[in-house]
Symmetry: none
Subunit: 215 residues, 2 copies
DNA sequence: ACAGATCGTTACAATTCTATGACATGAACA
DNA sequence: TGTTCATGTCATAGAATTGTAACGATCTGT
């Protein structure tokens, strides 16, 4: 997957981000101040930088000037120096306001990596090959027809693999609206995914909650 | 765990909160007026602030303006300056009305910390590893199947570790207020936890009351 | 307007969970 | 030590949840 540099001086946050990115398959390097950050940027092929603005030694603003075009997502405090940051946001690939939800961060990381082509545009698991740009799915090399909803759901499951996702969460992420009343819509689409893409053993049901894609 | 700043001028209340938060593993700093509060905020990496509104020297309202986005829970008197406070509530992560129940405060603290990702998403004890996002439990590295009630109860016990929890309290926290039935239900589920997760020595029974998870 | 595809809903079967009761064991107290 | 009440332990019936298939409404392209 991608090599991601996490520049964040609060150790618990840094480690939490690291754990989550690693769990979806990325390689992570944690640094805790701007000096270390510039060090890593110069010597390694970093694919993406998560950059806190408030940093010891050299602040995020100055680090950003020297990233030489490496894609960057800013992590900004709720009411930080918004005026200064505002300008930066234009140059950055994305920014996210703390405190943020981890699922949101993961989604943005994937989006930037895909946009900047630093991540393979596809996903492999067992004999399954999912190609995101073309929205096509192959099983053992054979193209499997895939409806829009099926693909959207599959994509969300892949981007949030190893996380228990409630039905409500899935409705939010895939259907995009708050669902009223109870229906078996999610269940039925999950069922489609399982049988169509041979994911019976990979998509676990989390009883009374929802589903989880295990890789 | 997390570093929590308690800003409360009534010494007994301040100390009570401190004792309880420490017993579940948090690091606490007690201050008794707004001036001290700003001092601590500026020099240390505070993860969460519990902020009384009525304070000597500088009041909670003014302190909040300078927290630089550190998550904050307000402690408001029932008939405080509700008009002024009302506005604050929008910016705060949560608020709780005095007099409050300690368990309620603990629950809100955990909720905010998890929401703002200042607390780890997993819990370790002896060979037991509990992963909250995936809702999976490992014992000596092996995945142990876990029912919803088992996981919910385990989570509550972990979040309120070192605190004696009555059966009624557990029924409230895990089953929900509207549960009608035998309180032996709790006993049976505790038994499951003990045998399944090798917690025989960790979950103590508090005679005539309930149970306590000791770490 | 028609044919074909997609998708939300429903119904029923299969599965999983859990509250409960019965009995055994243990703690408190006189 | 004996009595009483509280808790540990286990099995099971019934409730709750999910799997599965089929249906009809809606949409799309012709």
């Amino acid at each position: 997957m991608a090599k991601i540099l996490i520049v964040e001086d609060e150790i618990p946050i840094n480690e939490l981000i690291k754990r989550n990115l690693q769990s979806v398959g990325h390689e992570c390097i944690s640094v805790f101040d701007g000096e270390e950050a510039l060090n890593e940027i110069s010597k390694k092929n970093i694919d993406l930088i998560l950059l806190d603005i408030m940093l010891p030694k050299i602040d995020g603003y100055d680090v950003f000037q020297q990233t030489c075009g490496v894609p960057t997502i800013f992590l900004t405090a709720r009411n930080g120096l918004t005026d200064k940051v505002q300008g930066l946001k234009l140059g950055a690939d994305d920014y996210i306001v703390k405190p943020f939800e981890m699922l949101e961060l993961l989604a943005r990381v994937e989006a930037v990596l895909r946009r900047t082509k630093k991540v393979s545009d596809s996903f492999e698991l067992d004999g399954l090959h999912v190609d995101f740009p073309s929205r096509q799915v192959y099983l053992d090399g054979d193209l499997i027809e895939c409806t829009p909803k099926e693909f959207d759901l599959l994509e969300v499951m892949i981007n949030n693999r190893n996380i228990a996702l409630s039905r409500d969460k899935l409705l939010d992420l895939v259907w995009g609206y708050d669902f009223i009343g109870d229906s078996r819509t999610v269940d039925n689409h999950i069922q489609k995914l399982r049988s169509k893409f041979r994911l019976e053993d990979r998509i676990k049901t989390v009883y009374k909650l929802g589903y989880r894609l295990e890789v």
